[in-house]
Symmetry: C2
Subunit: 329 residues, 2 copies
DNA sequence: ATGTGAGAGTAGCACGTGCCAGTGGCACGT
DNA sequence: ACGTGCCACTGGCACGTGCTACTCTCACAT
């Protein structure tokens, strides 16, 4: 910055004013300063700004780049945070990058708050972290600490799907679980309750929040005697794995079996998957998470809140009317 | 840091020495300093370190979180850079985050070099950037500027696949292109040359580097009279889209048609895709890219290099012997 | 003549850290 | 008694920026 100032024979402060669009410089000077900055390839130093500034307006995000829905959430967070004048410091977990290490890294970056994503998978804990920095969980539970929490209303989503399938005439509706992943137990229980509430018999198959989990569950279903007429999976990835495996084995979807997912992640919209599912709006979830963490920055001792975002039913071609019962002699 | 020092009644510098593991402090003091830092929840401020340090040991990465193979590369880069004592600043492109904006952001973060990923998709330019910071392209061309470039040897990968299919008895081998994406033309031409070199007739179908592109190409193939006995796609995503579409339409893979991809991204290994493909080792590519960018930091005027990583054939269940010709009367 | 106010620009400190140049004490050899 | 060297530790400056307080000039009204 000093180079730019010297190059024009003005003071460094004047350059600072111009580049931050503050009043106190004539139009002519503004023009010359901008031109000189461009010419010299000057870029303001974020470290120095951060060091000087009283606040950083930075938030950390802990997530996994391999989870498509987490990526959607991060992109929504990036856009929304930018609108609010905050920037995000990304903390991707991965091999060799443990939660503990990434968090230490983020804390060294002057973050004012932390958004922890755990839509699917992952099993780390946040013990003691809220004492160091305001934290909000987005998408699923990772700790038993009292932490602000934004997630999808699983019960509501399950109800929408069961309702949809029942309206199509289905009664034998199976459910593939998410194993011991986050939200898995909650969704499984919601399914069982919803089925019983309608006088139907729950049929739970163990699975996981992955394509492999769905594929394995499909294998289990196929080795049993009769297939159910509809299957719900704990998330879209499992549903996609299940659907593709069924199709490969000659089962027609939706003529023989209807399949439903959960999340409306990008995989659900693929033309050859085209999955009936429930949609969580990433922008809405992101906005709620930012509301929560910014509120906690203002009022560190506010009571813990739990927001449940209401999902929306998305009907695609993987679900259809129950197949007619075949009468065997 | 001063708080920690005051808390123990020592100087700030001593705390600094201890936390950086430098000599000049007794073991007893080390223990007490670490305990006090832990107790007060102190984390060294990266901004201040960066500001003070003569070098930043930071590299920027420009990429897209939605491309699975780019995510694999970024994870490999993260691990390898850490081993070399560098840290990465992630610059994810996305809606509302243009290449220009992200680059400006990275340049403000004191990066010493920039790795630009473009494995698939994306079509931005790096005009003039190399003058500001050392740049290396990883995975594909984004500019016509003379820039260090690390990518896969497309011709070699194509040759491996054609060879594999020919050994299985295939002669009518179609190729689904990557549209106008990076590397698309190069791979298509390599395919055509390889086919002609073996006395076979190239059969090129327009596609794209996406599932949708592969699905569309499958539609085109199905409306033509006779299917080829094998189809190669420009990347795994297109191959997955094609394969799933074919299966849905009753075509058996590999009995009726063999399918091959390109990349060995995570989608290729899914149990119900199980795609024959060529593998690019992300760790090898990442290491070469880091070699290139670090070399250019040391010698800004070194001649531009182009590294081609040799891929490896991965045979899975999507490819098999040519189906016997059916004699029709 | 003198105050008033605004516009354009400048001076200096502070942010948290790393590095260089010290300072004091202690043991040892002459 | 005195230098020499080592160990444990401390003082002060610099990094690039933002903020507050200040100066200077010019126009205009009193």
């Amino acid at each position: 910055m000093k180079d730019v100032a010297d190059h024009l024979g003005v003071s460094r402060q004047l350059v600072s004013l111009v580049l931050r669009d503050l009043p106190g410089a004539s139009d002519e000077t503004r023009r010359r300063v901008r031109a000189a900055a461009e010419e010299l390839g000057y870029h303001p130093d974020a470290s120095a700004r951060l060091l000087r500034g009283r606040r950083s307006f930075r938030l950390g995000v802990l997530f996994t780049m391999h989870e498509p829905f987490e990526v959607d959430l991060v992109e929504a967070l990036l856009a929304d945070a930018a609108d609010r004048g905050y920037s995000l410091v990304l903390g991707p977990l991965g091999p060799g990058r443990t939660q503990q290490g990434v968090i230490a890294d983020l804390l060294g970056q002057r973050i004012e708050g932390l958004v922890v994503l755990a839509a699917e998978g992952g099993s780390a804990t946040l013990a003691g972290l809220p004492a160091q920095v305001p934290v909000v969980q987005l998408g699923g539970p990772r700790s038993t600490d009292p932490v602000d929490d934004v997630r999808v209303d699983s019960a509501c989503g399950i109800r929408l799907l069961v309702e949809h399938l029942v309206e199509l005439g289905h009664e034998r509706i199976a459910y593939v679980t998410g194993g011991d992943g986050p939200n898995a137990a909650e969704r499984r229980d919601a399914y069982a309750a919803e089925m019983r509430g309608r006088g139907l018999v729950p049929d739970v198959v163990d699975g996981a929040f992955t394509e492999q989990g769905g594929a394995d569950a499909a294998g289990i279903l196929l080795t049993r005697g009769a297939l159910p007429t509809a299957v719900m999976a704990a998330n879209d990835r499992a549903a996609a794995g299940m659907l593709s495996t069924l199709v490969r084995r000659g089962v027609r979807v939706p003529e023989d079996v209807s399949v439903a997912g959960f999340d409306d992640s990008s995989v659900a919209a693929l033309p050859y998957i085209d999955l009936t599912t429930v949609r969580h709006e990433p922008r809405a979830l992101a906005a709620q998470a930012l509301d929560a963490v910014l509120r906690r920055i203002d009022e560190p001792d506010a009571p813990v809140v739990t927001d449940r975002d209401v999902p929306e039913l998305i009907v695609r071609s993987s679900s259809g009317p129950r197949r007619p019962d075949v009468t065997r002699c």
